[in-house]
Structures are given as structure tokens and as C-alpha cells.
Symmetry: C2
Subunit: 342 residues, 2 copies
């Protein structure tokens, strides 16, 4: 199993990527990591980590780095030899099975769209993320690849999310919900009304439970929530911001009120946060593109990177893309014509 | 000061409304509450509360109740004598200064649109809500009245939110942000791109800080966040669901780990939750319509109702609607032509 890692991606440069790769290698004897990025910088971090001649670790040099706030299309034009493009080229050349990047999300998606085709039957790829819920987890997609989708895109996200929940988390018959502003049929704008009809009257009707609301992300009411990339992205970032806000308040108001057991409570809170933290999931897969791709948070630490590498390896191992193609092939041809008409 | 209260609104029937009204009357000697709803049911609750001949409390009978999940337009056709319509009629007849309802949100908005005009210069009313943030609070609108707005609606929400933050919370120069999927200009779909340009190049440019993301709802980066009613509604409900999820985890994992100070921590957590809870804000104002209107959560308890009555009274007292009209009048006429062209 060979996975490329964008060694330059994220807010902290090569260090968490290099250390995360070493961690992942130690955990998975069948894994080889190919670091894409500036060779000199990578080698410094390897030396610092005391791992100069690490087995199953390769470096493929690229001169440029896409900034975290650069416009993707411009960056790819001005800096064709960037580490994200290099990793996608490794995927395209079948030198690796997949890639992981904590770099500019838009650039990772754009790099995929430039270098790779969509999977057979896929209209438009989407990014899935996994949120903790009362019953385990909820897969939500899209969270940012497609901010103004069509109903057919959302229907296909339902299929991809269902396959993802099944193959990655062992949920035998995932339930799918459509994010809306109320549970009743007829709620919301045209996009969700038309999408509702596609789900309700189509081949996914047995898996579709109907509209869900923002609160259902964490109740476990459904296993998969389908939404447009604008709403999904706002929810993803709102979850981060609100969690941080509440946990800070808990530390201050609740733990701050204690005396003898303050230390005990602090340890328990830290364990709880670690359980919740995005890094425990590792990253968000870009589903629907020909190549396994895990997108990590820009602030990923070595643990997040290591987990994301493990996740990419698992995506490959379970044959996720083949299963997505097979499931989409069961849709009527009007719902599974490849590529987008635009 | 006279405020109408939809006595039938909410998940629990007249009781929390009647008891909340009594609480509000005790707190505000200049307040009169007019209860709209089924006289017999209201009188039972008054008797139970030991307040049969309460001063400054009036009842205006209405025979029907709109169900929490009924379609508003259908409900208004089939049940013209419903408590929400009755309260709006009291506003229209200048018998009261405003109304409060914990009933079907869509029906409260629809009742307003049927009975009352938009305020002068207003294109489309919106619902504002207040979220707790690291620096106090963030006003966010729209959270559900207008799920597919135009850029001009969002610009006007910026004005209304600014006036609301200033008059209700004393923020002298509120900063306005536009909810988006990234901070850089050019992010997002057409609606937010066009709205960005309206803010950036228009009369609000000095108050507009640019795009914000989901995480900024609780960071205090801005005082007002403008968004469409679909995204706003999802964020509002997501905040409820995620808060509940995390606070349950804290109770279980953190407080559950304690022994001697478990009781102390429980008390501190309850106080923290009370501070955060929606009921401390009371309700969400429908801004832009001719009449003060506070919409409460369906699960409102007597405290939430009492707070909402206090909030409605304050809206009236500060002359919120006059100030919104005055502020909108300063916009160029292209941005302040009354009513909607649709």
C-alpha cells in the first residue's frame, strides 16, 4: 500500500506531516508513504526526528507550495510544480494508491479535477466528513467542493455517503436524511424540494428517511446527511467554533469552580476532547474522483496526519471507489450519466 | 405598554404562556399582556396559578389553534379564527404594541405578512437571533423567514441587524460579516458574491468586515452575521443540537468522573447552561414588518415566555422599527424601494 502525502500542506509546514508519516509507518507495516514537497525541508525534518534512512519512506521533490489562502486556479497556473499537483500526478501515474493533504482545500479539489477524471457514473465529486453523534457518527456531505449543486448531485452524494458509512464504519443499512429547515415535505427552497422528490420517488426511497434539521447532525437520527457544499461547510466550521466555545466555558465555569478534584476533571475533559477532536477522524475524503484523497484540516497535528494516512489506506483496502461505482451503476441511467452537462 | 401573547403557542399549550405572562407582569409594572387564545383553557391555567382576577391581564378569545407542523397558508385558510391571526389583528388595530408567540414559526411569519405591511423601505422581513460569543453576542439573520433571498435582502438584513445590535445591546458601531465558506473575496456562490459587492461598494462599507465562516458565530469576530434563511436556520438548530450533545458528554464523562465534588460541578454546569440557554434571550424578533414580533422556540418554558415579553416591550420602548426605517432611509433609493418586485 503506497500513499502520497503533501509534505508542505497545512499551517505548520513539513514538520507535522513528516512526523505524522513516521507515526503511520510505525503503525502499519504494509504502508509506504511518498512525501511530495521540497526535498531539503523534508530532509531537515527527518533528521530532526532522527529518521534519516527510514524504510518505506520516499521523497518526490516539488519546488512550489500553494499558499493556504491562494486562489486555486491561479496557484496552479503560476506554480505548476507545487506539492499538491505532484501528489495527484503520483496518483494518476498509479505510483501510489491515494493521497493525503492538509493544504489549501480548494487547491486539493482543483488539483484532483485537473489531473483525474470523475469516477464512472459520477456527476460531481463531494467532500464527506464524519461528525460525532449520540449513536456513534453521522456522515455529512458535501462540505465544500460543490457550493451550488443540482438535485442529481445531492442524490449521488446520498449514494456515496451510504457506501462510505457501510464500508468504512460497518453500518449495514445506512439511513439517509436531507438537510432542510423543517421536517415536513415541501419545506425549503427549490433545490431541496426537487432533491426530496428524487430521493422519495427514486431507487433510494427505502434508505431515505426524509428531511432532517441542523440539530440532527449530532442526534444520530440518520447515518448520512446530504446537503449542498455551502451549508455543509458552514456546519462543519460552526461545529468547530461552537465546540471550542462551549469547552472553554466548561473549563472556566465548571472546572474553575472545583478545588480538590480540579485536576481529575481536567484530565477527564481532555480525554473527552481528544475523543471529539477532528484529528481522531483524520480527515475528510473527496468522494467521486478517480483516486483516493483525504483532505485534512489546515491545523492538523502529527496525530491527525497519521490518522489520515491510515484512513486513506483503509479507503484503498476496502475498495471504496469500486463500491461507489458499483452502487451508482444500479441507478437508472438518467441518474448515472457520467460527468456534468455544464 | 401592551403586548399580545399567543396563549396557545408552543409544544405545551397555554400553561407556560399563562405562567410566563404572570411572571412578566410581576417584573414590569408598566406592562399589560393580552392573551390571545381559547378563553376556557386560559382561565383554567389562571385558576391553577391562583391568579383569576389579575390586573393588567386581558383575554381575547380565538377558537382555533395552528398546529406546530401545519402548513401555514393552509392553516390560515382553514382556521381563520386562530390565536396567531388574532394577535396580529390586535397589532394591526393598534390595540397592542407588539406580539409574542411560541407557535408555528412559519405561521407567525405568514400571519404577519397577511395582516401587516412591511416597514417603509423594507424589501423582505427576516428573523434575527442572538448567539453567545466569546465577546458577548452575535446577532445572526435571517434564520428562517427567507430561504432564498436576493442580495438586496441580505444588505438590508445588515442594516436591520446593525440597528438591532445597537439599540438592544448598546453596541455603538456594530461590525457586520457575511457568512461564507471562506474569508477571501470571491468565495462561495453567486448570491454571496453579489452580496459581498453590495456591502463592499455601498453605504455600509465602513461597517462591513467581509466574509466570515461558521466558526465566527461564536468567536465574537463580528457583531452581526448576515446569511440566507436556509443557512441561518440550519446554524440555529445545529447550535441547539451540538450544545446538547456536548453538554451531555460533559455531564457523563467529566462530571461522571468526579466523586466528592460531583454535586458542586453539577451546580456549576447547570448555571452555565442557564446562561447559554435560548430562554435567556427570550426569542427571535421578526424584523422589517410593521409591528413588533418576537418568535419563541416551541419548547419555551415560562421563563422564556417571560423574557420574550420583556424583549418585545424593550423593542417597543427603544422605537426599534422607527430606527430601522430611519437607517434604511439613508440608503440610495435603489437599495430602499419598498416591497418586493416579485
Amino acid at each position: 500500500m503506497r500513499i502520497a502525502l503533501d509534505a508542505m500542506g497545512g499551517d505548520f509546514g513539513p514538520r507535522p506531516n513528516v512526523v505524522g508519516a513516521l507515526k503511520a509507518l510505525a503503525a502499519s507495516p504494509d504502508l509506504t508513504v511518498v512525501l511530495g514537497g521540497a526535498r531539503a525541508g523534508i530532509e531537515v525534518e527527518l533528521t530532526t526526528a532522527g529518521a534519516t534512512s527510514q524504510e518505506r519512506l520516499e521523497i518526490v521533490h516539488s519546488a512550489d507550495v500553494v499558499g493556504m489562502n491562494e486562489k486555486p486556479t491561479e496557484a496552479f497556473r503560476k506554480k505548476p510544480d507545487n506539492s499538491i499537483a505532484r501528489c495527484w500526478q503520483l496518483v494518476a501515474g498509479k505510483d501510489v494508491h491515494g493521497l493525503v493533504s492538509a493544504g489549501n482545500t480548494g487547491a486539493v479539489v482543483a488539483g484532483g479535477f485537473i489531473t483525474r477524471r470523475f469516477l464512472k457514473h459520477v456527476k460531481r465529486p463531494g467532500i464527506a466528513t464524519v461528525m460525532p453523534s449520540g449513536h456513534g457518527r453521522t456522515v455529512i456531505l458535501d462540505v465544500g467542493a460543490n457550493v451550488f449543486p443540482k438535485p442529481i448531485h445531492l442524490l449521488q452524494y446520498g449514494v456515496m455517503g451510504m457506501v462510505y458509512a457501510r464500508e468504512m464504519y460497518g453500518i449495514a443499512s445506512p439511513k439517509i436524511g436531507l438537510m432542510n429547515v423543517g421536517e415536513e415535505q415541501g419545506k425549503g427552497h427549490e433545490l431541496v424540494q426537487q432533491t426530496y422528490d428524487l430521493f422519495r420517488n427514486g431507487p433510494l426511497k427505502d434508505r431515505f428517511v426524509g428531511n432532517v434539521e441542523g440539530r440532527d447532525v449530532h442526534t444520530g437520527a440518520v447515518d448520512v446527511i446530504v446537503t449542498d457544499g455551502f451549508v455543509g461547510n458552514v456546519v462543519l466550521k460552526h461545529a468547530e467554533g461552537l465546540s471550542e466555545f462551549i469547552l472553554n466555558l466548561v473549563a472556566q465555569d465548571v472546572i474553575g469552580a472545583l478545588a480538590a478534584e480540579r485536576e481529575l476533571a481536567t484530565v477527564a475533559l481532555k480525554a473527552m476532547v481528544a475523543k471529539l477532536h477532528y484529528s481522531s477522524a483524520g480527515g475528510a475524503p473527496l468522494l467521486g474522483i478517480d483516486g483516493v484523497c483525504i483532505i485534512c484540516h489546515g491545523s492538523s497535528d502529527e496525530r491527525a496526519i497519521s490518522n489520515a494516512l491510515g484512513m486513506a489506506a483503509k479507503n484503498v483496502r476496502v475498495g471504496l471507489n469500486d463500491r461507489i461505482v458499483a452502487e451508482l451503476a444500479t441507478l437508472p441511467s438518467s441518474l448515472s450519466v457520467n460527468g456534468d452537462e455544464e
